[in-house]
Subunit: 509 residues, 2 copies
Amino acid sequence: MQNGNGFSQRMRARVLDITTGKMVAVLNNKDARELGLQPMERVEIINTRNHKSVNVVVDVTDSMVREDEVGVFREMKAALGVKAGSILDVRPSKKPKSVEFIKKKLDGTKLSDGEMREIVEDIASNKLSEIEATAFVSAVYVHGFDLDETVAMTKALIANGKTLQFGNRMVLDKHSIGGVNGRTTMIVVPIIAAAGFAIPKTSSRSITSSSGTADAMEVLANVSLSLRDIKRIVEKTNGCIAWGGAVELAPADDKIIKIEYPLSLDPEGQVIASVMAKKASVGAKFLVIDLPVGPYAKIKTKDKAEQMALRFIEVGRKLGIKAEVLLTNGYEPMGSAFGPSLEAKHAMMVLEGKVYDNLAEKAMELAGALLDLVGNTVPGKGKEKALGILRSGKALKKMQEIIRAQGGKITSSQQIKEAPYKIQVLSQHDGVINLINVSLLNRIARIAGAPADQKAGVRLLVSQGDKVRKNQGLFEIHAEDERKLSTSHEFALRNEPVELEKVVIGKFE
Amino acid sequence: MQNGNGFSQRMRARVLDITTGKMVAVLNNKDARELGLQPMERVEIINTRNHKSVNVVVDVTDSMVREDEVGVFREMKAALGVKAGSILDVRPSKKPKSVEFIKKKLDGTKLSDGEMREIVEDIASNKLSEIEATAFVSAVYVHGFDLDETVAMTKALIANGKTLQFGNRMVLDKHSIGGVNGRTTMIVVPIIAAAGFAIPKTSSRSITSSSGTADAMEVLANVSLSLRDIKRIVEKTNGCIAWGGAVELAPADDKIIKIEYPLSLDPEGQVIASVMAKKASVGAKFLVIDLPVGPYAKIKTKDKAEQMALRFIEVGRKLGIKAEVLLTNGYEPMGSAFGPSLEAKHAMMVLEGKVYDNLAEKAMELAGALLDLVGNTVPGKGKEKALGILRSGKALKKMQEIIRAQGGKITSSQQIKEAPYKIQVLSQHDGVINLINVSLLNRIARIAGAPADQKAGVRLLVSQGDKVRKNQGLFEIHAEDERKLSTSHEFALRNEPVELEKVVIGKFE
């Protein structure tokens, strides 16, 4: 499409002191017409003083900027190094070629490696508008990625971000696809590190659950680490647990996820590329993926999980990563804790040998699979070795080293303070526990203040299949203030997160 | 999806004096966490003083607003009636149901009337974010609309905007699908009005061409008319030619078009709904659609045009509009003018009886089809009647009435001033005109300054099939300043908008 009439215009910068997350130049209606520009068309803007330039989308206004002025938000101010009153050269320019590639994908045509790379680069550098990037995400959702495209997207994400190198060391990693509670990472990382392998783990904060691994680890130590911090800590201790949002491993991916979130679009190919890119970027060569299957997990059916597992392994092979996927039980909670402090405490108690439950068991499976994968033991003996490291106290000692290296001081479960306000929810009848609704317990923990209030959350007092008596405690709500406790308690009583076995589950007359 | 933890918070308004075209509340990161909110989730905001409320998307910042403040752009400031420092009640709320319907459409499921109406209402009232609205447009592009959905979209657009009523009067209308030059509207409207029928025509400004009908009419009269103006003028003179962008006939449609534009997405169903909604909103019961087919027109092939024509007629039937579609010649220019003043002058010369060319002929076909459709004449004699009205001078007189009613003073072609700078482009050889490239002529006119410079443009001096001699003038460029004239002239010489017949059209060695 033609764009503008080819003329350029010298204009004065008007700094709009706002961060918009976008590269947009605001022009007065009259100037836009003079340059033959429609809103959403593009201009090249050159700072006449330092010759820095950007290629950005135009927004048009009657009121925000005057004639002969160009409105510049913070992002562009930084990119161009302008001050209020700087003189800018504004010239209509073409839209990036990547817009044509997005159109191709919308039309159902497969994208080449080069096309994928251009799209990813232009998303990362804000050259594509939100409308264009959303059209891309929608196209990927509708038409999907085949194996080649998934690999191309993964490589493009890696190329576009920063990467870590650990020389000749064996780098291992694990990843859990979200949806359930429990912090296996805080058990697996110290075991693998204690076994002598590098495991530079980056984790996310909670989005819809009551805690992410980064939230729970933050109870014990600083998780906002730079890439340089990660390298230093892993060189010293073999492991770390950092917040992935603080490092720019795959900046385009973060932008794509931001678009997927409001519509809950998570096309499989994009999810796989996103995970694999982040693992490859830290130099991982051996990877175990925990894929929970169940009603509260992201993946609801075994068929879908198997298909995704095979795709993970294929993409890994193309990237030189030896990957193994464990489909895990997503039908019940892992461990008994919901909320940052409670989950951190639970993980520390496993490391201290005070608790061994289904969460600990899952962590041993994952750590064992990694040790098998890397060929460190007699085949099939990985889990035994992991358990040995846990039982010997070496995992706890390693975790304490990692916590200190990340600037933390809390190195035992006893040091983790509990919330000042607690209340128990009791069973209404005698019976057997039939169903524990992980989503509702997460919701109760969130209403109680998690994850922003670290100590807020839920502690389960029963497991599936347990026999309970009337008035026996089913779970405990923890909160940092009374109002949140009572609101959360009311919500818990109105709903039924822990159900006893029944024959009749509803009655209509 | 769950959203927030259900708590509300009293916060101080911080007015961000910028028009963003979006309803977005900016929260500090800390407050967002406290409320359990992610960016792009929604809050209800209530002004505690006047109890006005809005339901908007959240954006999260570290720097733009402080804790306990909510950043409010101009749109929200107006909707809530807030001032700096007003106290607002901020409470997490659910996303509109329409987001689920958009997801359904992405999944390829047909939408019901009610679902379509909710999507359109939420787009019009800015309840949907740009990301969500773009996902909808992408879904419609990929999966299309069937007849029911096209009708549902049309009705939703009508219900959502304002409408005009003219009592028991017969209301006629015409529409041209874009892509070619020439202002048939300025000839058809006065003929239909002179024949005694109401024709409240709304037209667009140019987007990519050198002039829209609204741009050309603006040379003669005011086109920024309110709905009340339109009603008054049509009641007085039977007709008007107004700029559609000034009236809120289908506000959601304008927003959808803004999203379609950057990616050149114009799904057929959406185009049809857009046209039919605007016609139904002015009360039209008889409609002729001019659908140019050709390389420079929006529709390139006759097959595609026929399919679209049938769909227009079916949708018209469901809305009680008798529609007829004329497929017209989109292979060559209509008339000889490109640019607002030149096109206005050309149309006036047709009305004055000084010119009768293919543009005039096309206008007679369209006006005649309308008169036949409304049953005003012996069947098939509509064109004859239209020609009679033109020849009698009644159409010119009616146009002058309309111009005056729209506050204009220029009522003859002689009063329309020409540009001060002109240059002719000459033929390089003797020969026969084989091809006139409408897109290139539009581009030349735009570089010369059209449509912002009204007098800028191109006047063709030859027609397809004409014999020309070397150094004979092919076309004339008009401009309001010398620089634009010379840039446009250089562009014209580098390209070949008017081609002579050749056997060899390219040579590679």
